[in-house]
Structure formats: structure tokens, C-alpha cells
Symmetry: D2
Subunit: 240 residues, 4 copies
């Protein structure tokens, strides 16, 4: 307490070791990137739905967690599986590029989803860009991020249009660089997102009538329009 930051303590619990400073900074950036995503995700809808019937906070959070599965929150793990498959098979091809193209072709045939690319809203996901920036500052850009780029190029070639790396893909590559086991990736997303779910649940209870018909697309932002500099200055040394 007071010595080791919460992300570092989380890393310790997951891996059995304390992280280096730069690993801790990346780990924390991943957590922050996923802390909330507005009212539209299914986990938010489930948590708010439970809350609107009068559920206590933990029950509403549990309903939210139970809605984080393969199709929501599962893209990080799916992308890690793709990258690991590339790492296993690339020795059998002349180039990593060729191996990536084979994997994309195979996925197309079998209907397997390759998570971590493209986005409904963002053309270039700003969270992916920011995470790579920090990874560059902390000098952990390595083979896994290179593999991610190889898959990105193979997907673009196969689809005939760009499907840029999104935040899930960026997290997947960074987690591989940090040697976090694939099976913990979804859970990491759950831990990261719980505060967001909590904020939705508390807001639902405080501001909405019970049993309202919830339209996830009808919410409007009603917070402050900007943050003061004093608050912004917080940023430059937070990496617990």
C-alpha cells in the first residue's frame, strides 16, 4: 500500500511477479483504455436492466459480467490466438507475410473470426494508436506487434480494403509482449470494465425511474464539457 500501484498488484496476482516500471505503465494504459464504452455495450445494458428492477449493486455488476463473452470482450483473446498460431506456423513459410496470408485464408474458409481489426465507429482507433505510442516510449515494441501488422496487411489484401488494428488487437499484441496468458485476457477486460459498469449502475439508480424501457442508443452526455489544466497536469506521472 502506497508503494506498489494497483495495476502492478494486479499484474503480481496474474503472473506471480511484480512488473518492471515500463510493464506497469503499459498494463495500466490497457486498463484505462477499457474502463468504459458508453451505454451501448451489452454488458452495460444487462447491468442497467438489472439495476432498473431494483437489483443491489453487486447483482447488477454480476449481470454485466455475465454478458462479457465470446462476442463482447472476446476479441482480445481471439486475436491472441491468431497471433500465437502465426508464431507457431511461420517457421514453415518463407516469410511471416506468407504465413499470415495462409492464416487469413484458412479463417475465411472455416468461418473463424479474427478479432482485433476494424471498428464500427473509428476508422483508425485512437486507443490503438495511443497504446502503441506508449509501447514505443517504453521500448516493448517487438515481434508480436510485428505479427499483428502482418495479419493487418494480409487482411487488407484479402478483403480489398483496410481493416486497421483496433484497440483489442493492440491490447492483444501488447499482452503477448508482456507474456500474459491468453486465458486471462477476457478477465483482464472484465476487471478493467467493472468501474464503468459501476458508474452506469449508480447513474441508473440515481437518475432513472425503475422499470424504464432502456434504449441504449438514446443516451446523451451530460457531464462537463472540458477538463481544466490543473486536472490535466495529473497525467504525466501516473503509472501504478
Amino acid at each position: 500500500m502506497g508503494n506498489v500501484g494497483y495495476p502492478a498488484a494486479l499484474y503480481l496476482l496474474l503472473t506471480g511477479d511484480l512488473p518492471s516500471r515500463s510493464t506497469a505503465r503499459l498494463f495500466e494504459a490497457i486498463l484505462v483504455s477499457s474502463i468504459d464504452h458508453g451505454t451501448t455495450p451489452p454488458s452495460t445494458l444487462a447491468a442497467r436492466t438489472a439495476a432498473s428492477t431494483g437489483a443491489p449493486v453487486n447483482a447488477a455488476l454480476a449481470a454485466g459480467l455475465l454478458s462479457i463473452n465470446e462476442y463482447h470482450g472476446g476479441a482480445i483473446e481471439a486475436c491472441m490466438a491468431t497471433l500465437e498460431r502465426l508464431a507457431e506456423t511461420e517457421g514453415r513459410y518463407d516469410t511471416r507475410e506468407a504465413a499470415a496470408e495462409a492464416i487469413v485464408a484458412e479463417a475465411k474458409e472455416t468461418g473463424v473470426r479474427i478479432g482485433g481489426f476494424g471498428h464500427r465507429v473509428h476508422e483508425h482507433d485512437p486507443r490503438a494508436r495511443r497504446l502503441f505510442e506508449i509501447a514505443r516510449e517504453e521500448r516493448v515494441l517487438g515481434e508480436w506487434i510485428d505479427r499483428l501488422r502482418a495479419v493487418e496487411r494480409a487482411l487488407a489484401k484479402s478483403a480489398g480494403k483496410a481493416l486497421p488494428v483496433n484497440v483489442d488487437g493492440a491490447i492483444a499484441a501488447v499482452l503477448e509482449e508482456l507474456r500474459i496468458e491468453k486465458g486471462a485476457a477476457n478477465a483482464l477486460f472484465m476487471i478493467a470494465r467493472l468501474p464503468g459498469l459501476l458508474a452506469h449502475v449508480l447513474e441508473e439508480r440515481r437518475t432513472q425511474p425503475p422499470m424504464r424501457r432502456i434504449d441504449p442508443t438514446a443516451a446523451e452526455y451530460d457531464g462537463p464539457t472540458g477538463r481544466t489544466e490543473a486536472e490535466g497536469s495529473l497525467g504525466d506521472s501516473e503509472h501504478g
Copy 2:
């Protein structure tokens, strides 16, 4: 990402504002204090029990969260209620001391539990001491911690023996100083504890046979026996 720490982002979601640096440090210390408590808490037993039947990670975590209620994880909120009652009533007494004694007497009569004092294991809870230390460094020791001490003295007088402030009591007072709403305290504990639950679930899946009869008191620590200095040096500037 990379600018605002995860605890600060959590504080933002709960309160609508970014914390000051010292508030962020305290907030993070609270999270770290509660991140795990070994194999004996009921939330851990429920999460491991679900995991041992083959539950996916989120289902096991949800079973754990559903076991955090009034009697487990509820002491922070109960203690905050006591402190708030003291703040409301102390104006009617000559001294805060007298008001605290009246509250303790009333609780005794009505059978209401006063959370935040005494501990099965620790005579003096080291986590409480450490949290107060940090609070002193960050200059947030104020009226609420004074109220906590008044209740501690009143309890000792009434019980005829010391019932020292434990970690829940310390967190309660610090949350009051930080103006976090009482209704969010249990949820804060859930967020803090989720990584611990996750570590138990992953360990259960990795190392234990399915459907074993779980004895929460039979676990033995099998991790490393000490942390190196290099790791320890992490500590001095982590407060995201």
C-alpha cells in the same frame, strides 16, 4: 491512457472529477489494501466452487461478487453510516466523545453492528496503520478520522477491552474525507477484490482437480519467499 492512472479514472467515474494527486494516491492505497485476502473469504470460496465445476471465468467471478454483501465487504459502509450518524448528532452533545458513547450505547441496545473495529487475526491491523500513515503524508487526516477514533474509544470503554480500528474502519474514514458516497463503498471493495478472485479462479482451474471438496483453511502458500530489492524499488512513485 498513459496520462491518467486507473485509480484516478475509477475516481473520475465515481465522482465526475479527476482526483488531486494526493487523493489518487490514497484511493490507490485503498484498492491495494483490499486486492486479496487468501482462501478463506466466502467470495473466494464461491468463486473457487463455481470454477471447480467447470465454470467459465466470468461466471466464477460473478459467483464471487454475489457473495459480497452485508456480512462480507459490508463493514466499510456500516462504519461510514456510524461516522455519518456521529457527525449528524454530535452538535447535540457537549463533546464528540459523549456523542460517540451515546451511539455505541444505542447500537448495543438495538443490536446494530458497528463495523470497522476489531479483527479475528490482527490485534492492530497493519493495513489500517499503513493507510493512516499515507493519509498523514498526504495531509488528509481530518474530522472523519477524529470521529473514528472517538468511536474506537467509546467502544473500548463500553466493552472493557480494546477493539482497535481495522482496515475497514480506516477505509471508511478516508472515504469520508475524500467525500465518496457511502453507497459506492461496497462496490469499491468489489472492484478492488476482483483481481484477487480472478487469481483464485485461475489457480483453481490450473492446479486443482474438478469437483474437489474445497477446505478454505487447508491452503498453503507456495509462492516465492521474498521479493528482491529491485522489485521493491518499484514502490516509491506508484500512485496512479
Copy 3:
């Protein structure tokens, strides 16, 4: 097995005794009345939302259960509380009528909800009528149903328009006649509703694309338009 019906076994688990034949029949009618209510209830939305993210069946059912609380599924218990309060206080009034009016007036003042009356859709809830019909056949119409009617009249007088007993009110009165404890009423509703939730979850998985935006009001019935007589003839002796 083969001797005692499932509703009778459920009654045994709740009360410690096997029910009489007529009690079993009423108990089963209550279960059937609540087995499903289409796509609009929040518990259905939560269960389908979880299912649409790829949740296993039990996780989706749990998300549904967690959305059955005070405002959804809680009217039976709320109505039982009102009836019990009437039973306790009516001795102090000249007539039951007067006692009911006092309770309605008090509820209006304190903002307490009286569950079990009025309905968004049904002017006269056909499930209430049917349950009373069976209760009459089985000769269990007694004081509690009389109390329910007294509250119904008091409500109409106070509101200036009819607020007829709905299915929750009818169940509340019958459960009181059967001496089921109030604290089990919500759980009884959960048990009754679980098959409905399951049918929604299985349908969601079988017929809908993952992560669809669910509009609870947009569902249309696509089942058979009528049941054959052969099937209908089942009815006359089922009361396990």
C-alpha cells in the same frame, strides 16, 4: 418419482409438508400462470442480452434471475405485506373496509407502493379470474381473498377509478390462504419463470445473430396458431 408431482415436491421443500390435493392444484396453477410473459420483461431482456454475447445457458439464466427484484416480480410480496398489515390492524377498526381505507391512505401519504392491482394491458386480468375460479373449485377462498377485495374497493374509492386485482394480487391472496411465507414469494416467481427464460435463451441462440441490438417490443409470435383438441384434452387432470 411418479408418485409426487413436481409442484408438490416444491411445496414440500418450501414448507416441510406434502400438500393436500387441492393445495397442490392451486400451487401448480400459480406456477403455470407465471411461466412466461413474452419478450418485454427486464429479466427476459437481461437473459437474451447475455445469450446474444455467447453466454452459456446457466449464465444467461442467472443474468435473468438477477433482474427479478422489487420492481419486477416483487408485486406478490408487496401485496402480501399489505394484506398482512390489514390482518394485523383490522381489529382496531369498526370494519375491515375502514382498515383497508386507512392502509390505502397511509400508503398514498408515504409513497409506499401497493402491489397487485391494475395492469398496463389487461383491464380485468384473466389470470387472476382463472386463479380465483380454481380456488373456488378447491374451496380455499377465505379471509385473505376477502381482504384483497377490501383493498381493491379502498383503492378504487381513493383513486376514483377501478384498479382491479391483477395476477400478482390473486397469487398473493392464494399464497396467504396456503400459508406460504412472504419471503418465499419472489423466489416462487423465479422458479415459475425459469422455463420461460430458458425458452427465450434457447431461441436467442438458435435463431438470432450474436450481438444484435435487442428491441423487446419488436418480437412477433411465430408459433402455431391453435392447439388441437387432442392436446387440449390433456388439461382436465393435471395437477402435480
Copy 4:
């Protein structure tokens, strides 16, 4: 209500059709066979653990449901998979016997569990025997029960000792005869078991101190020692 029994209504929701009278009777016997199994199953432990921390009833039931997975409650589905595999492959062998032996040998090699045979407590599971008895009375003993027996013989031959069909195996064969889809079998078990979980939760709240250390093997039966004839006579015509 009053016409169609609850098990028949459940069958309707699962299959889209009302059951015949004999199907309804079997379906109900299956539900009754699984309604409770004392304090030792993990789902009971999870539900009681949540209840002992002060969880509301639905949260405790949800914790129980989340502990019904592959290794607890999953044997019915696993056995159905084995029987279906036998049905698919037996055409390629001279006899069903030979096909069953091949499946058992394959399972041994690959480490796949064949659910539905053997029991920790019962040498001959009385629930299996009773279910077959009813199936015989209702004339639904067919090919699937014959397949179950073939696997039982193949297992005995392979293991060198009898591994008699248990209740899960019996249910699996009967569900196949009734053409219930395999994916609904676990959920059927959950529906059947919910009343048992509820009884445990209510008992935990009513009779046990909060936060007790629960030892699932230390419970003792404290109910009545026998049922009167009057109650027993209930049995002969319950099949809703």
C-alpha cells in the same frame, strides 16, 4: 392454468408442443428425481455461501446456477452425446455391442468422460431403477435405453467391474426417447434443482449464523422421520 400441468407447460416451452400424458408423466418424474441432493453438491455450497454473507434470494440462487457446469450437472448431456455417437456409428459395426465397445475404448484412449454410469454412494441408483419402471409403465422403453444398456455392458467389460447406470444415465436415455435436444438437458437439470437450492438458501437464512464456515458434509437431517399414509396417498395420480 388448472388444465395444463407445470411440467407439461415446461415441455411446451422447450419443444413447441404439448406432451402426451405419458410423456408428461416421465418428464415430471425426471424433474422430481433431480429436485434436491442434500448439502454436498457444489451448487448448494455456492448458494449457501452467498446466502451466509447476506445475499438476497435471487443472488444466492444465481450463485448456485453458476456452479452447475460440465462437472456438476453435466453428466446427462455427456451421456446423451455418447448415446448419439453410438446411434451414428452402430451402422458401421456388426452389432450395437461392438459399436459400444469401440466407443468405450476410444473414450479411454482420449480421456473423454462417459457420464451416466457408476455412483459414489449407490451401488444401484434407486432413481435410475424407478425412472425405468415408470418408462416401462408408459411404454417408452425403446432403442435409446437399449443403447444405454449396451454402453453399460461395454464399460463393465472394459473396467472389469460393474459400473451400473445412474440417474443421469437413465435421464439421458429417457430424454433421447422423448426427443429433447441435448443442449437443453443441463438447463432442465437447473430448472429441476432450483427448488432444492431455494430450500437450502431459505434454511441457511433462517437457521444459521451469518458468515459461518460451511462444512457440506456436517449437515444432519432434522426433518420428520416418516410421512403419514394420508400424505403418501397423494402419489397415485400426480402427473402434471
